[in-house]
Symmetry: C2
């Protein structure tokens, strides 16, 4: 799946990301991946649920994957952070 | 699956919940469900990843479900909150 079908969740308001996912679906995509790390994981779940319940009623959550990513820490060393990938399709 | 195999994630330190899940597995359970709502969802993912990577290496994430729960809001009315269920087994 092309990277253009992926919506990365950051610190902006939840509805910004909802709009991004809805736009993907409405522009012809049948699959959208929502990705998030750390504390943004909760927001990623909110985004998927809001898209499904309020905007794209025939969209379903096809699969959810979680994993641990190792990222460079400030001041050297590395830190582990959890990540989530939510696969939606319609 | 009995409710005793379910670990509810709240606002305590992550390792408290990791210990609870590890204890479940080490006391003979082959399946443990990790449940969380709202902002605790990120912590639930952390708990599953830490259990799997550091403590119970043969544990796997079998399934992950997300949904929306409607809870009574303060001052009347109701609010929607996302929730997650992470099904682990070994």
């Amino acid at each position: 799946m092309a990277d253009e079908n992926t919506v990365y969740i950051g610190k902006k308001p939840t509805m910004n990301y909802v709009l991004a996912v809805v736009t993907q679906f409405n522009s012809g995509s049948t699959d959208v991946i929502i990705k998030a790390r750390g504390r943004a994981i909760s927001r990623a779940v909110d985004v998927a649920e809001i898209v499904r319940n309020r905007f794209i009623h025939d969209a379903v959550v096809k699969d959810i994957k979680i994993q641990t990513e190792t990222i460079p820490a400030e001041g050297g060393g590395s830190a582990n952070v959890s990540s989530i990938e939510i696969y939606m399709s319609k």
